[in-house]
């Protein structure tokens, strides 16, 4: 029977062509990702493996030096009270600044996403602090918030916001939330574009208020953007260096209040020239970030990609 034979032959052909297609797809997948992976491999993964390697030795500017090896550097780092302070500082900072940045960025994106007058002006205005280089902005802000600067004069304060161990942490949180929210805004603006208007029209027809529309529809649809911002800006916050370096002049003070893990690594590498300890600290810290990011991946990020 021709039809029976045909139906029997067809599945086999379909299966083999499907397998061929999947093999082809895999090949294309690897091919597409090849060049990026080469770049990441050479300039990120290799230096990291190199750092892991030297973390087991006493390592100076010109290479291996006689001295303690093995897990000595790790013990030193893990027992160093300055490193503990650095970890505490960065944890507090990240937990404060990331939600602030994301909320502010999302708010700004929502505000200017639609047809409002002077839209271009506002977009440029909100993005503005993000544009200026961090060095220039930090220096300007240091001036603005100095004890006799404009802010204090206007509001009648006399605190040295960036010079006091108790206020400098929050001051840097404010500074970075302000300069980063513009960038967060850009990402959310792009993401908001992928939500078609039909969705909003349907919600409006149903009589949903702006608030409900936002929470029940917009916010969940922005999930990929949330995950992206959380990871990228979370990691960015954990890697804080520039502002603490500029504000403290590289010392991490006053009284270790601005010491972050990256500043610690920098000091060990470029002041003490103990690259072994710096690398050990780097590996430990990276391990912590990795655990956090994987946790985020498993809770928020797992996407049903085709």
């Amino acid at each position: 029977m021709a039809t029976a034979g045909a139906t029997e032959a067809a599945p086999t052909r379909l299966r083999s062509s499907m397998f061929g297609a999947r093999l082809g797809e895999a090949a294309w997948g690897y091919g597409f990702a090849l060049v990026p992976f080469a770049v990441f491999g050479i300039f990120f993964i290799y230096p990291f493996i190199y750092a892991v390697y030297i973390s087991f030795f006493h390592w100076g500017i010109l290479g291996k030096q006689p001295g303690a090896s093995g897990t000595y550097n790790y013990a030193k780092v893990l027992h160093d009270p300055v490193f503990h302070t650095a970890l505490k500082n960065i944890a507090e900072y990240t937990v404060a600044v990331v939600p602030l940045e994301m909320a502010l960025g999302l708010l700004l994106a929502l505000l200017i996403n639609g047809k409002i007058r002077g839209r271009n002006f506002f977009r440029a205005g909100f993005y503005f602090p993000s544009i200026a280089s961090s060095v220039a902005i930090t220096v300007i802000i240091l001036y603005f918030f100095s004890p006799t600067g404009p802010f204090n004069t206007f509001f009648g304060f006399s605190t040295d916001w960036f010079g006091n161990a108790s206020t400098v942490g929050w001051s840097i949180v404010g500074l970075n939330a302000w300069t980063t929210s513009g960038t967060v805004m850009i990402f959310y603006l792009a993401a908001l574009q992928s939500i078609s208007n039909d969705v909003y029209e349907a919600a409006a027809l149903d009589g949903a208020s702006a608030w409900r529309t936002f929470w029940k529809i917009t916010f969940p649809l922005l999930r990929p953007a949330h995950f992206f911002c959380l990871v990228v800006f979370g990691i960015g916050a954990l890697k804080l260096f520039d502002q603490s370096f500029i504000v403290s002049g590289g010392t991490g003070g006053p009284n270790y209040a601005t010491t972050t893990p990256i500043l610690y690594i920098y000091q060990q590498a470029f002041k003490t020239f103990d690259f072994g300890v710096a690398s050990a600290a780097g590996v430990v810290f990276l391990g912590i970030i990795l655990v956090l990011t994987v946790a985020q991946w498993f809770t928020i990020g797992r996407q049903e990609a085709s």
Partner: protein
């Protein structure tokens, strides 16, 4: 390939080609024999060093030196170059880091060159040259130096009716009190939370930074310094500022800074009249000497040429030119500093090296600053700080 892709690739190739040709054109002009590098404290300094290098090039046909400024993080930039073995041939080294750089093996010992060219090392002040020596090995020649002095705002002093700047600790305190009482200044003295200033006071009380750091004399000096801050007669400069800026803005009436204050005040606060007096004294005179050397890279592949430049820069000719703008004081007894630097020069006999030779100094400095802040805010005792710093200097 599709048209769009071709256009994009074409653009990419064009831009890269443009970049390549731009550099090729410039490469043809680059004729460097040896490289010279340092940081710059102002446009004056940059221009002056360039002038010196030009003069050297004009008078030395076989060596051509090119000077570049490395501003920003000098230490990190140099460290990267040392690691890649392509450091500049001749460069600045601050006395507080020479110990650790020498220990890392990146600085060239100069004794053989000195011997060969019969270089006159005796012209250098022994204490300054000693900053860059380990035993009898010379790792660099000081190009200049400066101690601290007392600088006062003449206007504020006049308004308080005080005739002259304080000379002793007691006068320092009483002058400040007078100014507060007369309402001339809220907190007249600017004191940095920095051992690079407090250290002078420690020597003035008979203490020392290199011997017996935890002594009672040191502790008493620290307590005096911190006491001034706690009593409100003195204050620390806010984040991003320094005492020089505070003097210029009229917030401080008495500060302690070095010769570097002068070019700064001249260009930034030319209308502020301030007086320079010798550094105050406690039980005795005591001061710190800050100095920078010209040194040679161990990885240099042009050492004889580099030595020719180095010896010229720190020789009589080079130093004479360097001193002409008064940016710092002369390290040689046969070259005069610019006029009007009496109060600084007077400190020469009592000036002790800042960070000299100790390879743990840079990392100990971080402990110094943070702990001093803790002592000022009351969360650490003087005794604890001194023992912390002592341990850090020993490398623990």
């Amino acid at each position: 390939m599709t048209k769009r892709l071709a256009v994009v690739l074409g653009l990419l190739v064009a831009v890269v080609a443009l970049a390549a040709t731009a550099q090729a054109g410039l490469r043809a002009h680059k004729v460097t024999n040896i490289t010279v590098a340092g940081w710059s404290s102002g446009p004056d300094e940059d221009a002056l060093v360039q002038q010196m290098v030009n003069k050297f090039n004009a008078t030395h046909s076989s060596v051509h030196a090119s000077w570049t400024v490395i501003n920003g993080d000098y230490g990190a930039a140099m460290t990267a170059r040392f690691a890649a073995r392509n450091a500049p041939d001749v460069f600045y080294v601050d006395s507080s880091v020479i110990g650790s750089w020498e220990k890392q093996g990146v600085i060239q010992p100069l004794n053989s060159f000195v011997k060969k060219s019969h270089y006159n090392t005796k012209a250098f002040y022994p204490k300054l040259l000693g900053a860059f020596k380990k035993g009898s090995t010379i790792y660099g020649f000081p190009k200049d130096w400066s101690p601290l002095a007392t600088e006062v705002n003449n206007n504020l002093f006049g308004r308080a009716g005080i005739k002259s700047a304080p000379r002793t600790w007691a006068q320092l305190r009483s002058d400040a009190k007078t100014m507060v009482q007369k309402g001339v200044s809220k907190h007249p003295i600017c004191l940095s939370a920095d051992w690079a200033r407090m250290g002078a006071f420690m020597y003035q009380n008979g203490g020392s930074l290199t011997k017996n750091l935890t002594s009672g004399a040191n502790a008493a000096a620290v307590n005096f310094y911190v006491g001034l801050l706690k009593s409100g007669l003195a204050y620390t400069p806010p984040a991003g500022s320094w005492c020089g800026q505070e003097l210029g803005q009229g917030h401080a009436a008495i500060i302690f800074e070095g010769n570097w204050l002068l070019p700064y005040m001249k260009s930034t606060y030319p209308n502020v009249h301030f007086g320079i007096r010798p550094m105050v004294k406690g039980k005795q005179n005591g001061n710190l000497a800050f100095t920078v050397s010209w040194s040679m890279a161990k990885s240099s592949s042009n050492k004889p040429a580099a030595w020719t430049l180095l010896s010229w820069l720190t020789g009589k000719q080079g130093e004479k030119l360097w001193m002409s703008k008064g940016l710092a004081l002369s390290p040689r007894s046969d070259v005069k500093s610019i006029g009007g630097r009496g109060p600084f020069l007077a400190a020469a006999p009592f000036a002790h090296g800042w960070g000299f030779g100790n390879p743990n100094f840079a990392s100990a400095y971080t402990v110094m600053g943070n702990d001093l802040n803790a002592v000022i805010s009351g969360s650490k005792t003087t005794k604890q700080m001194l023992s912390d710093v002592s341990n850090a200097l020993k490398g623990h």
